[in-house]
């Protein structure tokens, strides 16, 4: 379900996985703090659109590295095989030693989740759904409190909260899996 290594960082121990998750959320927090700095509605005349788009793209694409809904992340791709390789193609590609490792990784990545993995995944989604919903309440309270204090800040805060919700909806289940799975969890090899 989880990789042994991603970006050269070993994920074999739970401590390492937790550090990886903490690092991910720290990076996202920094991105959201940067997003909060941009005035809303954006003053395009002052040329702030490009930096905003860059920060937004980085923040929205970081969850890909946690995996789950994407291939090559820390958690195995949930959906299983997206394309079918013919046995003769596999045999032909594997014949060359330099391609064999890549083919092996690709086949591991595309293997559909088994019964146990599916149960783990579903459990993580259940927990993440609950957690995210309960996060909405403090989010709404903060939003209303800020709306009462300053209308100029509300648009910025709304924007940041939306982005947070987008990120959390993509990465919270994977974060829970990486955080909670035990040390002896079967691992699936290195990142592609």
């Amino acid at each position: 379900m989880i990789r042994t290594r991603i970006f050269g960082i070993s994920l074999e121990t739970r401590r390492a996985r937790r550090l990886f998750v903490a690092g991910f959320w720290l990076a996202e927090a920094v991105m959201l703090a940067v997003l909060f700095q941009f005035p809303m509605p954006l003053e395009i005349a002052h040329g702030k659109l490009l930096p905003l788009v860059i920060v937004l793209a980085v923040a929205s694409n970081l969850p890909l590295y946690l995996g789950g809904f994407s291939t090559g992340g820390a958690v195995k791709y949930y959906e299983g095989r997206r394309f079918q390789l013919k046995p003769e193609t596999v045999a032909r590609l594997s014949a060359k030693p330099k391609h064999a490792r890549l083919v092996n990784r690709l086949l591991t990545e595309m293997r559909p989740v088994d019964e146990r993995e599916a149960q783990l995944r579903d459990w993580a989604y259940h927990r993440a759904h609950r957690l995210l919903f309960w996060m909405l309440y403090p989010g709404a309270v903060v939003y209303l409190a800020v709306a009462a204090i300053s209308l100029s800040l509300v648009a910025r805060l709304g924007f940041v909260l939306l982005e947070f919700f987008l990120i959390a909806s993509m990465s919270l289940p994977q974060s829970l899996l990486l955080w909670t799975l035990p040390e002896d969890e079967p691992q699936i090899g290195e990142s592609l």
Binding site: P41, E43, H126, F133, L166, S169
Partner: protein, 201 residues
């Protein structure tokens, strides 16, 4: 998993009946959202006068709707997802026994699997909905100053102005609808896809 066997005297054992119930629930939710949108968009005088009472009514209705399908309470159509029963809910009053509430669960292995799978499917759908909804909303927030963007294109500026007016009237109903979707989609999926009770037995 389905705790209520009847609704207004109608048996919920059959899947087709449950689907009608779910369809009715969402039609009602959409009608409420449309009503809230119209109230905000047209600023009708008689609606303005009744605004307070209509808001109170909508708030009560939405509170009821959040609990109606169940999942997060013991009185909904779907059983509580934590496995809480009426006995557990009564025990919750006694704070000294709060631990029992979490340790004892009426959910069996099949119920837990069904619940978790429903959440996975719901989340998958919601991820796509979020992408579809959030990105245009963000663009609307970013591109608000139409006069800066479309100063030399009056027709486009007027069109965008109309879009912003619709957004101003529709953001709150849309948000509430989304919240309801987020809260009740797993329950909706369970009610929609669970087989007939006789068939399941």
């Amino acid at each position: 998993m389905i705790s209520k066997r009847t609704f207004l005297g109608i048996s919920l054992a059959r899947r087709s009946t449950r689907r009608w119930l779910v369809a009715g629930f969402w039609t009602f939710a959409l009608l409420l959202a449309a009503l809230a949108f119209l109230m905000r968009y047209f600023h009708l005088p008689w609606l303005q006068l009744q605004w307070f009472w209509l808001s109170c009514g909508l708030a009560v209705l939405s509170g009821w709707m959040f609990r109606f399908l169940g999942g997060t309470g013991i009185d909904g159509v779907v059983g509580d997802f934590t496995g809480r029963t009426e006995t557990h809910a009564a025990r919750f009053v006694d704070l000294l026994q709060w631990k029992d509430k979490f340790e004892t669960s009426s959910l069996d292995e099949r119920d837990k699997r069904l619940r978790n799978a429903a959440h996975y499917d719901a989340y998958r759908i919601l991820r796509q909905v979020i992408r579809i909804v959030v990105i245009p909303v963000m663009l609307l927030l970013i591109m608000r100053p139409t006069e800066l963007l479309f100063s030399n294109k009056p027709k486009l500026a007027s069109f965008m102005h109309g879009i912003f007016q619709i957004w101003d009237a529709g953001n709150l109903p849309l948000f509430l609808l989304f919240l309801l979707l987020f809260w009740t989609l797993p329950q909706t999926l369970i009610l929609w896809f669970e087989p007939d009770v006789e068939e399941a037995q």
